[in-house]
Symmetry: C2
Subunit: 208 residues, 2 copies
DNA sequence: AACCTCCTAGAACGAACGCTCTATCTAGAG
DNA sequence: CTCTAGATAGAGCGTTCGTTCTAGGAGGTT
């Protein structure tokens, strides 16, 4: 029954298992519409699955779906972030490359694909601790990646941790502002200023 | 019928008109639960109004309610921002005071009251242009306030505009990260680094 | 008195929601 | 072949959604 054909219109890949297709559809839909704006029947339709299949793989219902979607978004952005950070030896240049990549992704999606976990996490702030914790763990993973890069570049340990948080914060906020404003300007400014900040702490580390 | 009594349990103020009570309830609820997570009947109940009253003042329905709520959040945060910026002559110290204020607000609300426009705007990204534009205007208003402060402190015009965007971006992102992580650490780091960045551009302006 | 405008009140509608349920299909083991 | 567990299929449950609708109350003007 399952064909090896890729549906170019919806981006759905029938070679993936049902569970994976459902997770990806949930992630994509909640990224755009948030938790409450996304229906399970809509997820099933987008994934090319039926309601029975969805509840077979996710007996915990919508909440379990959201947690899986957030974790998927976590891995997805972590892979992108790792790739970009590895491609540039200089951390300042690497962070600027990140802002360019985020800007490109936003523009290509006509300003609808923002951070894959923010929309889901924000709408469920105090209501579903599981979802919130999955989102918090995503931020921590991304922070760890940036932290490694900063430390490898010689930035002092006591500076690097906070600086890595500011990098994540600013990327997050700039993407959000850029999306709402439909302009890459906030992301461009963020890249320039983060690069400036990073080189500042690099100099501080080499001249004690 | 209308008493002059303030309901200390719900925070509802009966001395306000119905329309204003509805707007405030919408703003508060959508700040926590987003657009789709907030029902009109819930708004009516929280505001101490009936469904008929809500639709009398907002015949445009939920969409019009959301726009009014975002504009209310815009004014609310603009007032706070203006007050803090005016209380500190040094822009770096003023921005740090902002991060402290945001951290305090988050902690007091048990991490549920984040930015009053983000949750509403994110969930309606591509669907309701009116809401998105109201949110974009809010960011512009806040940006203008920071921009004035930076210029008044002598920062070069060509630097100040981008720098003001990064301040807004980073405040936004840090509040978001702090809320999800239930920790003030991201906000504290943001305050320190923004202050550092601002003084850097101040020095650049005085030593050509 | 009558009248008019503003506002309040909530029943009722069709649609969509999350979820449960039973039934059927498929594939591999024996 | 039969047996079984995993996966698929979708009708239907009760509830809630946004919205519409009609009816009534409050207060001022004529």
């Amino acid at each position: 029954m399952r064909t090896k054909h890729r549906d170019t219109a919806t981006g759905r890949d029938d070679t993936l298992g049902t569970r994976e297709r459902v997770v990806r559809a949930t992630s994509a839909l909640m990224q755009r519409q948030g938790f409450d704006g996304t229906g399970i029947k809509q997820i099933a339709q987008e994934a090319g699955a039926t309601l029975g299949s969805v509840y077979h793989f996710f007996p915990g219902g919508k909440q379990q779906l959201a947690v899986a979607a957030v974790r998927h978004g976590d891995r997805e952005f972590a892979d992108l972030l790792r790739e970009i950070l590895d491609s540039e030896p200089d951390p300042a240049a690497a962070v600027m490359a990140c802002t360019r990549s985020l800007a490109e992704g936003l523009r290509e999606s006509d300003w609808v694909d923002g951070c894959p976990v923010t929309a889901t996490a924000l709408g469920t702030a105090g209501r579903f601790p599981d979802i919130q914790q999955a989102a918090a763990e995503a931020f921590e993973h991304w922070h760890a990646l940036v932290l490694d890069k900063l430390r490898a570049a010689g930035i002092r340990d006591e500076d690097a941790d906070d600086l890595a948080w500011t990098v994540i914060n600013t990327l997050e906020g700039a993407e959000l502002t850029a999306q709402v404003s439909r302009s890459v300007k906030p992301l461009e400014a963020a890249g320039r200023h983060l690069a400036r900040l990073i080189t500042l702490y690099q100099q501080a580390a080499t001249t004690p």
